[in-house]
């Protein structure tokens, strides 16, 4: 009977197509939008992954990694004095305007690394050597800078020159970084040179990067640093999570994406539920005939549930498949952001199962309420 139930479903091509389209659209909208949302949130923590150190120390008012409350440089020494600290180095990070050779400006994320250790250096160099940062006026730009400059007709390569705050910046290398939420390219230089590029102000230290001594637990060291210096110390995971939470709480991003996802669910329920109800309604005479011929409610329920879940399974596959194709295309382009962990697939699957159950339930209620005798009317 189950094979015949599927034939019954596939035979009604218009409704079958409508059901699959509705559920595919729902699954596509949910998985694609949540993946873009997750990708966007992931971008907010790009700096944490680009710098790659276990402990970040910042002013006590700092809530997330893209926020800078400058500190005095002496704080580096205070953190170094904490028992359990292997090393602590300064990091300058801020958004400055770069003046391009054509006279236009481009915002950049100027990242000043400790010149001795170059801690926080980019993970992958495309061209040049990281050590060349120690050369006069040297900077290393990322792939985003290449794209941004290219859009303005400027071919950025090793040896090219631009200005930051009226001071020369000479490109000595090109690196690869994770693209950030702020959208501006990363420009790496040494900490001391970054201070030269930065507008004058009393305090310029953005973060202190810390490595614990072997065997020292990170949570314990975080507690000690905070207690001794009065600064805020984060583990890299904690600063990433705090950043995510900050963006969720303080921006309209979740509401915007949540609305679209909710709309997808509502559209899915409306299309699938209504179409499935119509499908059952139009087949009611035949289902009543089966009931009269001895089909129990259990058999009819199995048939209806199988039909609902078949369209759900196909719709889910098509929807997440299309979302994955979209993701593959945009990841090659670099934007918009896209991150599809298994939890998104599971979430989409659960929602589709819910819609299928709801649709089947609507049909089953109708079947249960119908007397087999209607077949004689």
């Amino acid at each position: 009977m189950l094979r015949l139930a599927l034939k019954m479903l596939f035979g009604d091509r218009a409704k079958y197509a409508m059901l699959v389209c509705g559920l595919s659209f729902c699954a596509l909208l949910m998985s694609q939008q949540t993946s873009v949302f997750c990708g966007l949130l992931l971008w907010t923590t790009a700096t944490v992954r680009n710098i790659r150190v276990p402990i970040w120390v910042a002013d006590s008012k700092v809530e997330q990694v893209n926020e800078v409350v400058p500190m005095r440089e002496v704080e580096v020494q205070r953190v170094r004095s904490v028992v359990g600290v292997e090393w602590a180095v300064p990091l300058f990070w801020n958004i400055l305007q770069a003046r391009l050779p054509d006279g236009t400006f481009q915002g950049v994320q100027l990242t000043g690394l400790d010149s001795a250790s170059l801690v926080g250096r980019p993970a992958k160099m495309r061209e040049g050597r990281i050590e060349d940062l120690r050369l006069p006026n040297a900077v290393i730009v990322d792939q985003v800078a290449l794209e941004k400059f290219r859009k303005r007709g400027i071919s950025l390569k090793v040896g090219a020159v631009f200005e930051i705050n009226d001071k020369e910046a000479r490109v000595v290398g090109i690196c690869e970084t994770e693209r950030s939420f702020l959208g501006q390219p990363y420009v790496f230089t040494t900490y001391s040179r970054a201070l030269e590029y930065a507008p004058l102000q009393r305090k310029l230290l953005s973060f202190i990067l810390v490595q614990p001594k072997p065997g020292v637990p990170v949570p314990e060291l975080l507690r000690r640093i905070s207690a001794l210096s009065g600064l805020r110390a984060f583990s890299s995971d904690q600063v990433a999570w705090d950043t995510l939470v900050w963006y969720i709480r303080n921006t309209g991003i979740p509401i915007s994406f949540g609305t679209v996802v909710l709309l997808g669910i509502v559209v899915g329920i409306a299309i699938a539920g209504q179409t499935f109800y119509l499908f059952v309604h139009e087949n009611m005479r035949y289902l009543a005939a089966l009931k009269a011929m001895g089909a129990s409610f259990g058999v009819l329920a199995q048939m209806v549930v199988l039909q609902a879940f078949t369209v759900g399974f196909i719709g889910y596959g098509l929807g997440v498949g299309l979302a994955a194709l979209f993701g593959n295309a945009v990841l090659q382009k670099g934007q918009p952001p896209f991150y599809m962990p298994w939890q998104i697939l599971a979430f989409t699957g659960v929602v589709i199962v819910f819609i299928c159950l709801l649709s089947a339930l609507v049909g089953l209620i109708k079947i249960a309420r119908t007397e087999a005798a209607m077949v004689f009317k």
Partner: protein
């Protein structure tokens, strides 16, 4: 092992009553109907529209609950069966031929005919073998894979008859089986029913308006206003309503 004894009556009702209520209005569709259908006979139930023929048929085959009296089908009191057991009893013992055929349009003729056997737990191959043989017997062996929409009305009713008989039910219920057919097709359908379904241990009950097929009946029960007005024997069948 000897075959189980054949009861005298395939269907027996005593004081059968059925009312439909809609708000304040109550319609007495069946009023204390005493009725018997014997094994081995083809019984027709006739009467004007709204006299309760279809209600009686629905109650007899266990698809409609009744309010008063008793219904016994092959010795089984239907009121003693739970809903599940009643469905199973119907599936095993009752075959249906409907006015509008009710063949599922997306299934082939063969698949439609296999349904009662599948519902009774037969395997697909077993059901298909029996269905194909029966479709061949009713004269549409070359249309096994045709969809109902590809068949004429007469052919569809033949498929419906094959579906009603494939699991060898003891009671065959036919609701206006010739209503959607022309005269020649209608006669052929009745000939087929008489030939294939009338056996000593079976009973065929046909509800009809079609006086052209009265001659096929062994007995005719006339209904009027919710009760059996008269039952005519085989002799009267030939001349009734002619």
């Amino acid at each position: 092992m000897s075959a189980p004894p054949v009861p005298d009556f395939a269907v027996k009702t005593a004081g059968l009553g059925k009312t439909y209520s809609n708000g304040d209005s109550v319609v007495h569709a069946l009023k204390s109907v005493d009725f018997e259908a014997r094994c081995g006979e083809l019984l027709m139930i006739v009467g004007p529209s709204g006299c309760g023929k279809t209600t009686l048929l629905s109650v007899i085959c266990g698809t409609l609950h009744y309010n008063a009296g008793a219904v016994t089908v092959f010795g089984q009191d239907l009121s003693k069966l739970s809903q599940g057991k009643l469905t199973a009893f119907r599936g095993k013992n009752v075959g249906f031929v409907f006015q509008q055929f009710n063949l599922i349009p997306t299934w082939t003729a063969l698949e439609n005919v296999t349904v009662p056997m599948l519902l009774n737990g037969s395997s697909r191959s077993e059901a298909e073998k029996a269905a194909a043989a029966l479709l061949k017997e009713v004269g549409i062996g070359e249309k096994l894979q045709a969809l109902p929409t590809q068949l004429s009305g007469g052919q569809q009713q033949r498929v419906a008859i094959a579906r009603a008989l494939v699991h060898e039910p003891r009671l065959l219920i036919c609701d206006e089986p010739t209503a959607a057919l022309d005269a020649a097709s209608g006669r052929r359908v009745l000939e087929l029913l008489k030939e294939r379904a009338c056996r000593p241990d079976r009973c065929v009950i046909v509800v009809t308006h079609d006086s052209r097929i009265f001659s096929f009946a062994d007995r005719i029960a006339e209904m009027e206003d919710g009760h059996i007005k008269a039952v005519h024997g085989p002799d009267a069948c030939q001349s009734l309503y002619v």
